[in-house]
């Protein structure tokens, strides 16, 4: 489903973030990406959303080279991928309902569908009492669950979570990971980039360790946090 073929990426300041990465992620997999800061985890994810184009190699989703996508196709690709970030990236001037609804509006969904689907998804992440709350009126855990609801709303095939527990305490972190596992059980491919060893060790799925832009270890089953 997702394939990196000899991918290298260098930033404008000549920092080589990825160095000849070869990786294949199958449909429905749950993959944890671990490694120190600057190892290339976030860069790997940003290539999938076409925020970046590799200098060398190809990034393929369902056999399509993402570098070939036109400007008009990029939004359509992003609607296929749900994203969760460490800093939540919520729209501060929109309430919980509107934050989730926006992701549907950009897909062109009719009002009736938005009004039916958004409360359901907010219910799944346990935010049915916070529908009218704005992000600044919510706790860190609630904000992240709202971000997950937004990522889920258009039933994406892939969920990318970049340090989703970075700003959360352990209880909220486990809640978020439980949600991600539940989403994965329903068939969605999940890629989780994290520093949190306890979380990774509790998941017990594929773990890919990165360092200096390279994959240094790939534990396909029952992986542990090893650098």
């Amino acid at each position: 489903m997702i394939e990196y073929k000899g991918v290298s990426t260098t930033y404008e300041d000549s920092f080589r973030a990825l160095d000849k990465i070869d990786l294949h992620v199958k449909e429905g997999e749950f993959v944890s990406l671990v490694g120190p800061s600057g190892a290339g985890k976030s860069t790997l994810l940003r290539l999938l959303t076409r925020e970046l184009i590799p200098d060398e190699g190809q990034v393929l989703v369902d056999g399509v080279n993402l570098a070939d996508l036109s400007g008009g196709d990029i939004p359509l690709l992003r609607r296929k991928i749900g994203m969760i970030f460490q800093d939540f990236k919520l729209l501060s001037n929109k309430n919980a309902f509107e934050n989730v609804a926006f992701a549907l509006e950009v897909c062109g969904a009719p009002v009736e569908d938005i009004e039916a689907d958004v409360p359901k998804v907010l219910g799944i992440v346990g935010l049915n009492t916070k529908v009218k709350s704005f992000p600044h009126q919510m706790s860190g855990g609630e904000k992240q669950r709202l971000a997950i609801a937004r990522a889920l709303i258009h039933r994406p095939k892939i969920i990318l979570a970049d340090e989703p527990t970075g700003n959360l305490d352990m209880v909220n972190s486990y809640d978020v990971v439980k949600l991600l596992l539940k989403i994965n059980e329903l068939g969605t491919t999940v890629i989780l980039a994290t520093h949190n060893d306890k979380i990774v060790n509790s998941i017990g799925r594929r773990v890919i360790s990165m360092d200096s832009g390279r994959i240094v270890r790939d534990q396909v089953e029952e992986g542990k946090y090893i650098l």
């Binding site: 925020e51 996508l69 939004p75 609607r79 969904a109 009719p110 689907d117 937004r150 039933r155």
Partner: protein, 327 residues
Amino acid sequence: MNPVRSLARDKVASPKDLGGATSYGMKESLKRIWSTGWTNFKRNSYLSLGTTGVMVLVLLLFSALIAINFLSLKVVTSLQEKVDITAYFKPDATEEEIMKIKEDIDELEEVVRVEYISREQALEGFKANHAGDVLIQESLAELGSNPLQASLNIKATETSQYSAIVTYLEANKFRSLIDKINFYENEQVISRVESISTGLQNWGFILTMALALVAVLVTFNTIRLTIFNQRQEIEIMKLVGGSSWHIKAPFLVEGGLYGMFAAVVTLVIFYPVVYLVSPKMEMLMPNASLMGYFGSNAFQYIILVFSAGILLGVASSTIAIRRFLKV
């Protein structure tokens, strides 16, 4: 189908993936864009207030420029109205000959009017003007005959055309009947009036353009700062799959709303100010009624202020948002 389009169109989440729902129409889309723009305008109240305030200043500046242009035009016109030339005829020139010259001059395009003043009319006028001056009245009585000359008073459409009219007169076959033309005495005054008129018009135009440019830049930068404040929101919208148009359109609506509200506030401030200032200006320049001007052209002025406000807001938003859409 091209595999890239296939990935982008068929396999990505689309309304179909949401249970066969159909995509919403143009009307629904416009309604959504309008509602998002209006909501953003209301929720960013401080930013909206600041931006609208700056645009009010810009529109007031535009209005002041219109008023200044109107007043300077009035000054130029009244100065030009005071300038004319007179050709004086020798005593032996007959009325018939003078009328012939008058007809010739009347045919010139540059001439607005030619007025014939006979010797008798000139004398009556002179007497009337000096009715209280005993010395002059006595001198005239002593002379016994009419010492004044018949004349043609000529008014041109533009002050710059007097020299051409004089040249024409001097080349006329009846030139010998003309005693003198007061153009040469008035030449300096005429050229001074002309240079003041041209200066006022040219500098007025340059000043208007310069201030208009400053106004546009101020508006553009204010809106740019407003959008800059929302750059993270724009980035998020891009990352959740918002198309450029879907993101941009509410900002354009917001820009238009700044302009619309600024136009309303400008009108509410401007008309009372004109109402108060107009009588004072009329004391200085009796023919220049600002209230009369903005009253009789109210419809055009209101349309102009609204169009300028909305256009400035929308155009500034369009330019300002472009760089933030590159995510």
